[in-house]
Symmetry: C2
Subunit: 480 residues, 2 copies
């Protein structure tokens, strides 16, 4: 990877971004940026060429860090995005493609010719290439693969063979290795031969002739110890190491706990394969949290906010379909009791309250438990204790809030019996919510599914149908 | 801070944790751990003393990293937690208190005598102390403050003067500074005088006599360049720097973009105050994401999963109260149309579907937009475009899903008019959801509130009341 521009102070970057956006806006005013996507891109660009501005824009873009350009591309609607993309120097395409979100990457790749893509891909390291590969046309990937040397091909195959949530997918191959029987002085001289050390080199990896990891030599130890000392006497001989098939979130939690900057990845027979750096981990943590937040709302992936309507519909339809089914079931539960509602229409007005409060309370329970599970805080015997606590909370809330609702129902509609039914139904639905709130994520984990995704739909389905059934059922039994 | 134990390989740590837990379990079996919290803690511990196991447990605990002990404490119910806490060597108390979650920290601090707390606090750096300070009794903090030297007092005051979401709160003061007019050789000799360098020392800070930041010297440059070179000729003279009152999430995004390990924090007149490291940033990112996920379910903070019922009730009640109010409003909307429902009871069964699908769709829109806002992807003119897109999606979904629902209603209840009303109401409620889904987070941002918190409650309130009103209103107009 080419050395990225040294980031300047934050204000400066924001100033630069603003200037680029202003230039772009002025450009649009001057040129009247056409809003027709069917216009061939080349014509569009030629239409737009206004030498002075374009030259100025190019120069500004060159001064920006790839991550900042990626950001800029993400904030722009399609035509302006492609216009800027055209202005970026071709040798920076690869790094920028790595930085943009999936949706935006897709939109950029779509417009690139195979030879442009090949050139962009060939600037990348094997591990970076592996991240980009799924989005590249097959023919391009084949060409790129053939252009690699044998070692890089092996690395690319290795990196691509691990699922996205495995350490192998976070791993990179650039690192510095040394032998244990040399002095620190020799290591220092060896390092001076480098043009630049790989980013995040906070430790060197000590390997033997069979490439087995013997230890790590923190750069800090290298600096503070006597240059005459041998590596073996200074290195940490039993360092934390990862396996390529470890779960990425476990690796992330190790980085978090131990405040790591890099960690070696070794095969099961102890050979050094690569390393994971905190930069990869930060990206992973962010993406993981994003996926959870998006998943909670039934969004399958980050959406390009300027995506066409149909792309958005596709991203969101599954959740709406599931919701429709569960709402339909709840509706049929109400259907059973239509006779009761006809006799006492107040039931229709009160029933959504019972269902709603159960859904909210259940979602609180589930959120708590899913988080505790993710941190490994729930043992098997802990589950029973949790259930006890959650039902305790539900009982308390049922009596307090349910009681309040009961009084409200009584005042609104007269008849204390309706109030009692309201209180009882609320309490029972909160208890159902607590039980399902503990049970659903446990069951999902047992069946090997991610409890963070979909638990919320399931609990709402239970508390809706359950709430209607309990309330209307009790009312039918005791009021009619 | 004392040097933490070097983390070993992951399996080893998990093995160790398991052994500790087994020891604890065995201990419980042997001793019959009493489940009475009112028993004075000292008696409880004395009751439990079974020399052999306890000695073994202590030794295992000593071998664990503070973060692992923190984890263990979090997974244990209160009595066992306090038992383990008693066994931890006192000089490690401070580091462990920093690592545990807020709720668990509170439970530990409650049981500690003032002198124990003072001793624990005195082991910490000023910036760490600032994190712990809000949880410590005032008298303890006063004593600790008086025990600090003048520089540390100034640092503590500085660290505590910034709000939690400012860079100042993430900042630490331990760092290595050098002058620009010396050679790298001199720097190397200077570093060799250190016992240990501060964690995450990936760059040295170059300052002048007035402590103004002149540049940074990456350790990697120090290593690869000729030792005869001067610092000034090798350093990066215009590095990225943060201000103590910058927003922490902007700093985090800079770390993410530029893959930083550390960054200097300077005052407005350019003096070096401290630095932020990626370890602080990783913790911040995790906590920020957690707060968003918890906030979405109306949980005010991470709950100790073994907390007493009343603590949980307190953590969750606000959300339930708000929900109750919005549900009550929705119920009153239904109340207006009780006459219509009495005449056509099918309305009662169908209305929750209209409200539910609106709520789901609205939450999708809001999640998307809140995330785009957080990444700064939404400009002012972008908002109109977004609204157009979201209403497009809503219209599409309304016609497709609403049409489906209309057919279902027709088949279930006969009468195509009911089907048409169902379709129209679903479409209108989806449009309402789209409009409010764009409007609510924009308005919250405009009024300086975090759009991630509470947007979801507001949209559900709109789509519930709105959905009932639209559906029952249309039905009353056209069917009765």
């Amino acid at each position: 990877m080419a050395e990225p521009e040294q980031p300047r102070s934050r204000e400066e970057v924001q100033q630069q971004l603003k200037e680029v956006q202003e230039l772009l806006a002025r450009h649009k005013l001057v040129e009247g940026l056409v809003h027709r996507q069917d216009m061939p891109r080349h014509d569009l660009v030629e239409n737009l060429v206004h030498k002075q501005h374009v030259g100025e824009l190019s120069r500004r873009l060159d001064a920006l860090h790839p991550a900042d350009i990626a950001d800029l591309l993400e904030t722009l609607p399609l035509e302006e995005r492609l216009f800027i993309w055209e202005l970026v120097r071709a040798e920076r395409d690869g790094e920028i493609l790595l930085e943009v979100s999936d949706a935006v990457r897709e939109s950029l790749i779509e417009t690139m010719a195979p030879e442009e893509l090949r050139a962009a891909a060939e600037q990348l390291d094997a591990d970076e290439l592996a991240d980009l590969a799924p989005d590249l046309p097959e023919a391009v990937m084949e060409d790129v693969y053939l252009s690699l040397d044998l070692e890089e091909r092996a690395q690319l195959r290795a990196a691509m063979s691990y699922p996205e949530d495995a350490v192998g997918a976070l791993m990179e191959f650039e690192m510095v290795t040394v032998r244990e029987d040399v002095t620190l002085e020799v290591v220092l001289r060896y390092l001076r031969r480098f043009e630049a050390l790989p980013d995040h080199t906070d430790q060197l990896f000590v390997i033997d002739r069979e490439e087995k990891l013997r230890g790590v030599l923190p750069i800090n130890s290298l600096l503070i110890n006597d240059p005459e000392a041998e590596v073996a006497s200074v290195m940490i001989s039993d360092p934390l190491s990862l396996r390529p098939d470890d779960k990425a979130n476990e690796a992330a939690s190790a980085f978090e706990r131990y405040d790591l900057v890099s960690a070696p990845v070794v095969t099961s027979d102890g050979r050094l394969m690569g390393r994971v750096t905190v930069a990869d981990v930060v990206d992973f943590i962010r993406e993981d949290a994003d996926a959870e937040i998006l998943g909670n709302a039934g969004l399958r992936e980050e959406e390009d906010i300027f995506a066409p309507v149909l792309d958005s519909v596709r991203n969101r339809w599954a959740w709406l379909a599931i919701n429709l089914i569960t709402a339909f079931v709840a509706s049929r539960v109400i259907g059973i009791f239509e006779g009761s509602i006809e006799k006492l229409v107040a039931l229709a007005a009160l029933m959504p309250i019972v269902a709603g409060i159960g859904g909210n309370s259940g979602n609180q329970t589930i959120t708590m438990i899913v988080r505790a599970m993710a941190m490994g805080e729930i043992s098997h015997e802990g589950a029973m204790r949790l259930l006890k606590k959650e039902t305790g909370v539900a009982l308390f809330n049922g009596i307090v809030w349910g009681g309040l609702l009961g009084v409200a129902a009584w005042l609104l509609y007269g008849g204390w019996q309706l109030g009692v039914v309201m209180t009882a139904a609320t309490t029972l639905n909160l208890l159902l919510a607590a039980a399902m709130g503990v049970f659903i994520p446990m069951a999902m984990q047992r069946f090997g599914r991610d409890p963070a995704l979909g638990s919320s739909v399931l609990i709402t389905a239970c508390t809706d149908s359950g709430g209607f059934f309990i309330f209307l059922g009790l009312a039918t039994l005791f009021l009619l």
